[in-house]
């Protein structure tokens, strides 16, 4: 074995490689499966060396035809359908649909019910963002944050279950209010018309715990050089591209646009509370991770404020036994964990919609994939896709 002396090594290290590597295009098929199973997605990419071009997402593996189904279901039946769209935050999907129906029926929802909706929506957001904070570092090779994030998420899901009876698919909203909650220790219907005993106090404590866990997560991830190297400056999404593709929610805010439907729409009484809209600076993977982490803190703040000021009163407005929605059309959109979720409801006065257009956030968010993955390195595809936080149920509907 020959050993190289120091001079030779220096000479070699300074040598310029002038040979162009000859590479060939090949077609790479990724999936049908998301690398971390957020649902089933297939990508077809033309790969030259390590770079991908002409990436074509192939979707539809989860298509359940909810828009057609909605035309043959009654309004109360549709809430069960819609909370399966984005199953990571099932509760949040119900709210804009119910609000759309209430708008057409001109129902005034009792304040207490609105506060409960707000509390549960924010808990669903925290739970969804915690799943992101668990899975995203994992996709980049860091396993530890998962345990911190899922531990807190379990806390939230237990509380959600204690009120709604479901961890993922609560089906808790009723037109005119929310379902009378069971589980408060009493079995007769008259006495259980409210939240379970101790729920508000426990949730308040849980929010303190979540805030601590967010700090832990930030310490774990933010100082990790590998994660920094894999996310900083990777997958930059300029705001004008995001807007043209309809990319919304944390992905849009990470690109520096301070737009949050909770501030502009009135589907829930967010105007009574104080919270910040978190934005990023560069619109890269790192910012998208950070925005979702910091939004957990804001949501926890919102929940605590709502608990402190929740009024007493009924949970349900007076509604007819058979729900019929008067003739009319309206579009109601809400800030869901994944972005803008909206329902265009067309009613003809019947017990089910004539047409229900479901606008889901992830659909628009990943329609932008061919743009953002153009020329990306193959390992960065995972980093970019993970940072967009989509769920295929929310894409395919």
């Amino acid at each position: 074995m020959t050993t190289l002396d120091a001079d030779t090594v220096r000479h070699l290290s300074e040598a310029q490689v002038s040979v162009e590597l000859q590479t060939e295009d090949m077609t790479l098929n990724i999936g049908p499966q998301h690398p971390s199973t957020h649902g089933v997605l297939r990508l077809v990419a033309r790969v030259n060396g390590e770079q991908a071009y002409d990436v074509k997402p192939v979707i539809g593996y989860m298509h359940r035809g909810y828009e057609k189904l909605s035309e043959v279901r009654t309004y109360p039946q549709i809430t069960t359908i819609v909370n399966r769209i984005d199953w990571v935050s099932g509760y949040a999907n119900e709210v804009p649909f119910i609000v759309a129906a209430e708008k057409l029926m001109e129902i005034e929802v009792p304040e207490r019910a609105q506060y409960i909706r707000l509390i549960l929506t924010e808990m669903a957001r925290i739970s969804s963002h915690l799943v992101f904070n668990a899975s995203y570092p994992l996709e980049l090779g860091a396993a530890t944050p998962l345990f911190f994030a899922l531990r807190e998420r379990e806390r939230i899901l237990d509380l959600l279950e204690s009120v709604t009876g479901g961890r993922f698919h609560p089906n808790f909203n009723r037109i005119g209010g929310v379902k009378p909650a069971y589980g408060s220790g009493s079995t007769t219907r008259k006495q259980v018309q409210d939240l379970p005993a101790g729920f508000l106090a426990e949730t308040r404590n849980a929010m303190d715990q979540v805030a601590i866990a967010v700090d832990e997560l930030e310490n774990l991830v933010a100082g990790n050089e590998i994660i920094l190297a894999r996310t900083k400056g990777i997958g930059i999404l300029p705001p004008e591209v995001a807007a043209a593709y309809g990319v919304s929610g944390p992905n849009l805010r990470a690109s520096g646009v301070p737009f949050d439907l909770r501030k502009t729409q009135d589907y829930l009484p967010y105007d009574k509370f104080d919270f910040d809209v978190i934005t990023g600076e560069n619109g890269d993977c790192w910012d998208r991770w950070y925005v979702r982490l910091a939004e957990i803190r804001e949501s926890a703040k919102l929940v605590q404020q709502a608990i402190d000021s929740i009024p007493s009163g009924p949970l349900q407005a007076k509604v007819p036994k058979v729900i019929k929605v008067p003739k009319g059309e309206t579009y109601v959109r809400a800030e869901n964990p994944k972005g803008e979720m909206g329902y265009y409801l067309v009613s003809d006065g019947g017990s089910g919609p004539y047409r229900l257009k479901i606008r889901s956030a992830s659909f628009s968010n990943i329609s932008m994939l061919p743009w953002i993955l153009e020329g990306a390195l193959v390992p960065d595809i995972i980093a970019i896709m993970g940072s967009l936080d989509f769920v295929l149920g929310d894409v395919d509907r």
Partner: protein
């Protein structure tokens, strides 16, 4: 003295203003700019534009009205013959209504652009040159309603397999699972057997 007339005016005009929808001014501004008719239902502003001005109207909305955010595009099949779901209570003109939703990214104002298409020749110019995000939404409308988007770069099925025949969101398209077994609706549960009816499971009764 000088103040009282203006106060009187303000008091007189206040009740009138209360009846005007808060979005009326915005709706009129959009309708005037894109050349269409505005209609407000609850807090949704809908602007009807002629089909041949579809792309121009969107160009104007994006460039002059700051409606830079492309939310969605879809269609409604207005039909009198309905295979799945309830038929309409009143007769309508048979047509497709194509709608797109555009928003700004500051105040949260949203406009639903709408245009009517003849069912026999359902074709509309593509919006992909104005909003890149229209690509997938138009593919969805193409496979679900059979609407052609002229100039679209890749008008193929989006959700459904290539071999799939038919356009599922048409009102003339039956819901197949419902054809096989009527559910839920009127025939929700099977009828209970009559008391005196002899059953094979329990011959003693």
């Amino acid at each position: 003295m000088t103040q009282s007339p203006s106060e009187g005016e303000a008091a007189a005009s206040a009740p009138e203003e209360a009846e005007v929808h808060p979005l009326q001014e915005f709706a009129d501004r959009v309708a005037a700019a894109v050349g269409g008719d505005a209609e407000i239902q609850f807090d949704t502003v809908k602007v009807k534009v002629p089909a041949d001005q579809w792309v121009d109207a969107h160009q104007t909305a994006r460039d002059d009205l700051d409606l830079v955010f492309f939310s969605w595009l879809s269609a409604i099949d207005w039909a009198n013959e309905v295979e799945a779901g309830d038929p309409l209570s009143e007769e309508v003109d048979e047509r497709f209504e194509v709608m797109s939703a555009l928003s700004d990214l500051t105040d949260g104002n949203l406009v639903v652009m709408s245009t009517d298409l003849d069912k026999e020749e359902a074709s509309l110019a593509t919006l992909t040159s104005v909003y890149a995000g229209a690509n997938w939404h138009e593919r969805e409308a193409y496979e679900m309603f059979g609407i052609d988007f002229a100039g679209h770069p890749q008008l193929e099925h989006l959700y459904l397999p290539d071999s799939f025949a038919g356009n599922p969101l048409l009102k003339s398209y039956p819901l197949l699972s419902r054809e096989v077994k009527p559910w839920p609706g009127t025939v929700d549960v099977e009828a209970m057997p009559e008391k005196d009816e002899p059953t094979t499971e329990n011959p003693e009764s």
